[in-house]
Structure formats: structure tokens, C-alpha cells
Amino acid sequence: MADTEQREGSILQFAPFQSAVDEGFWHKLSSLKLNKLGIDDSPIPITGFYAPCSHSKVSNHLTLLAESLPSESGEQSSTAHGNRNRCAIPGILYNTNTIESFHTLDRTSLLKEEAKKIWEDIHSGKAIEDSSVLSRFLLISFADLKKWTFHYWFAFPALVLDPPATLVDLRPASQWFSSEEAESVSAACNAWRNSSSTADVPFFFIDIDPNSHATIRHLKDWVTCQGDNHKLLFGFYDPCHLPNNPGWPLRNFLALICSRWDLTSVQFLCYRENRGFADIGSSLVGEAVIAVPQGWKDRQFIPNAVGWELNRGKLNRGKMVPRCISLAKSMDPNRLAESAA
């Protein structure tokens, strides 16, 4: 890990988000395509789910389930609100009718388009009311229903800070907080995660009073909490497990922080859990310095965005190529008949 360790003054590097698609999603997409959409290939709003990292050895993923797609009757599937293991994130699906149109999709402009939505939500203040829009994602796919094969590619658009943020400090939260603070922060985070009204709110801030008492607050209360000697840290559900890097959602969060509140030095908590409870040992506290990039005050200006997912499959390790999954075994009636015989 030594070579990727972040040192003081280095560029803050974020671990990319990773996708995971439940088999149920493809089954639902197939039936939606056959029974409702037909050749209509207009973009479909979908919902992805994620949760803070809950194991020291694996990162969490942005997961798509059958419930991610709208139901065939038209209304958006009702997803259980307040499920702590499923923070809902809005996304959009471009499902093409042919493999050719899948490959000729203009990925650069699609990514830009989603980044623009994030940018506008930051400037309109919507991202402060409903912070899940900061992690908005994009999925392109081609469902080959004759072969039960699905080609797809995720993007997690991130607004690029130019120049990039630099890291002043990053260490386990247990080393950053005093023991009283750590205890109070853990308790406050657990309470936030256990309340059905806040369990799936992935961005927040922590307010620690001079008596080391911590409170978790909604982003909309940021302005009223300034002054009076409190320690304030921005916090987010970090899907990443790495000890030296924050996860992807921090990128757009920093973009929000520097364009809304003009902060140049930001302290943040990468909130992680162990067995479903706040884990101050694996959570990180960092401090980053941001130079507000040129043009960021101007709403018309749209920053560059990155975020197409690398294919980490065995044959494609780390390449910029789409993924492909074959579900013939569970969808092809001939194969099903064979295996049942």
C-alpha cells in the first residue's frame, strides 16, 4: 500500500465507485423491454442503492436490483424508505436496441449531461435539500434478448476540480478525535443510521461543541451553525474500505462545498461501519485544501467530468471497455428445460 499512501501536500485521490448488478435487474429489464418498451429507447430513470463500507476488507458497491427499474404499470417502484442498507441514488438508463447503437453512443456527451444535472443541483440548492443527487449515475446497456446477453457500462460522474484538491492530513478517525469526541461521534452516527428518517441520507455534517458533544446535522443547517467555537466536519457514507483514500462520493461533495460555501480548507469524515455500527477505527478524517477553480462562480460554466467505470473483469482488468453478462443459463427456456431434465 506504501506507493499509494497519501502524503501531506499530495493530490487527494478518490477510489472509484464500483457497480454491482443483481440478476433480478436484468430479468426485470428484459420483461420491461418485451412487454412495455418495445423499440422505445428513450432514457429511463432508475434507482441505485449503496451503503457505507461495512467490512474492513471489501468496499461496498452501487447496486442495481429488480426494484431499481420502474414497474411495468408505469409508476416508479416503491422502494422501502429508510432502509439503512439501501440509500437510494438517482440514475438514468440508456438501453439501446442494437449492439451498434450501444457502441456508438456518445459517451462523452452523456457523461457531460449528467454532470450538468449535478452542477445545476449544486447551484440551485437542490443538492443541499436532497444530497443523494450528488451521486447521480449513468448506465448504458444493450439487452440482447435473443441470446440472453447484456452489455453494459456504468458511469459515476464526478466534477473535476482544477487544480485538484490537495491533502493536508488524512488518518483514522480514532487518531483524530479525542476519546470523548470519538465516543460521542460514534453514538451520534449510530443514532443517525438507526433513524428511518435519516438512515439513507448519505451526506451530512458533524458539529462538535466545546464539551466534546457531537451532533449530526443536515447540510441545510450549515450556515446557521457557523461561529461559536464548534468543530465542524463534513461527513459522507463512504463505500470504500481503503485505509488511505476516500471514496468517490466525496468528489462531488467537495464541489458542492467549495461552490456553495466558499471554503478553501475542508475537514471531512469518511464514515465507515463494521458489522453495521459506526467504526471510528476504519473511518477516516481528512483535511483538504481547495483552490476554487476558475469559472466556478459562473453557473453557465460546466466543469469537466470523469467517471466511466473501468472493467475489472478477468480478461479486461482495468480497461476502458464495457462489461457483458450472459444469463442464458437462467433465462433460456431450452437450457432451463435441459437442466430440469
Binding site: 493530490i11 462523452t108 446477453t149 475489472r312 471497455v321 453478462i325
Partner: protein, 314 residues
Amino acid sequence: MVLSQKIHEAFKGTVERITGPRTVSAFKEKGVLSVSEFIIAGDNLVSKCPTWSWESGEPSKRKPYLPPEKQYLITRNVPCLRRAASVEEEYEAAGGEVLLDNEDNDGWLATHGKPKEGKSTEEENLPSMENLEISKNNTVKLTPSYFGGEDEEDIPDMADFEESDNIIETDPATLQSTYLVAQEPEDDNILRTRTYDVSITYDKYYQTPRVWLTGYDESRMLLQPELVLEDVSQDHARKTVTIEDHPHLPGKHASVHPCRHGAVMKKIIDVLMSRGVEPEVDKYLFLFLKFVASVIPTIEYDYTMDFDLGSSSH
């Protein structure tokens, strides 16, 4: 699916349709759960181990005797760092006892009754990462990526479409070398891991919970159910762990067959009672998951609880 299994499934389905769900508690007498006891035990699991949650699943597959929002329990993205088969080999090679003792023809309980209980001690007993030989990792890496579709000749070579605008690679703020598990990445021998979604359904016929496994390979692509058997204690693979249709999810999934769950749970409960511990029905799933851990020893799902099973000295 073998014919006898199919006939049994048909029989079981018919019985399930014509009999009502269990309403009278027989938890201590038979080791089984009524529907309402399953809900109580599930609620307790979710509150003590918050990585578990209730799911409502596909509306068309909902069981009318369960509340719509509490159809089954699931915990996702559970790491499985080693293949159960290779752990057993090493354990034996190290001169340790074989995990299962079939002398009394009752391997399941024997496994459970072994003194090496408790998550942390178990982890200590398991060989450390460094001891894992590369050859063993290779068997993992080279497993056919069946679901990946790479064996389908019709699929165009993705490399042909490799994009020239590798925007992400020119972004200095993107961490380049992250793997699903990069605990200590050293040269090429990067440890990457399988993960599992573990779900628990209520089996109305056997009146017990039933565990299902959905596996994902190191790049988080669906794992062929047959490969899941590598993560099952070899004494159980294909015998007590079978591949069947999940009652709430599409596709085939590996499942610990519940035919003996009641009997095993009854024995565990008897042992507890003989030690003067009064078992409570809301703790059923903790006992159950602890027992299931003997079947899938390397899948690190959460079932911890400050709850004494009784000491190992009888």
C-alpha cells in the same frame, strides 16, 4: 435436478398449498418456527446485526402468510476470502482435526458442538493470508467466467471497442490501482475476493428458516451456482447444499437444504437447556446462523451477539 428431487418439490408444493402455516409454537419441542416466530427472530437479527435487512422482493412472488415488507432477510456483499475446500485441506495438513466428525452419524451437530466457537477465535485458527499458496489462488482466478459471457463466440471482442478517450486515466484525482480487495496488493499476487449475498427465507413445509447463497466473483460478476459449492464445507456440498430456485429471486441459487434444520436446532436447544440456558425464540436465528457457519465456514456474514452458548466443557 434429479427426478426424486423434483417429485419431492412437487409434493412439498402441494402440501404447502393445502396446509396452513404453523401458528402454535413448537420451538422447544421440535426446533421449528411458526411464521410469527420467524418474524420476531428476524426483527431481532435486523436490530442486533444491522447489516441484515428485511426485503419485500418481487411482488408476484410474495407469500401471503408473511407481511409484504418482511418476506425474507438479506445481507449483501459479504466477503469470502478463501475457498472452504482449501481451508479444510490446510487444516488437515496442519494436523488439525477434521472439521466434521461423522462417528455418531450426525456430522452437523458434531461440527457445531466443537469448542472452536466464536468468530474471533475461529479467525485465529484459520491460516493467515500469507500462508495461502499461490497455486490455491490460481484455482480461484482461473475458474471459468461462465456468467461473464466471454465463452460465447458471438460476443465481439471488447478490446476492439476500447475507447481512445481514456479521460479517467488522465485525471490525477482518480485513484488508479484499486481492486475489490486490495488489502496488501503486492506485485501481481493481488488478493481479490468473492462476495456473497446471503438470504434467509421461511420454509413453510419444514417450518424453519432456509439459507440461500448468491455468489459474485472477484470482479463482482455473478458466480455460477456450481462454483458456489467451493465455498461450502465439502461434507455438505451437493448433499445438504443444493442448487434450486429461490422463492423470491430470479435464477438458480445454492441453498442449505432445510430437511434436517428442525432436528439440528432441536438438539442445539436441548444442549442449551441441559446447561441451564433457557433459549428464547427471538435468538433462534443467531443459533441458526451459527450452525449454518459450519456449512459455509469462510463466508463472513454477521451473526455475533453477546450471548453465551454455554462453555465447551461439558
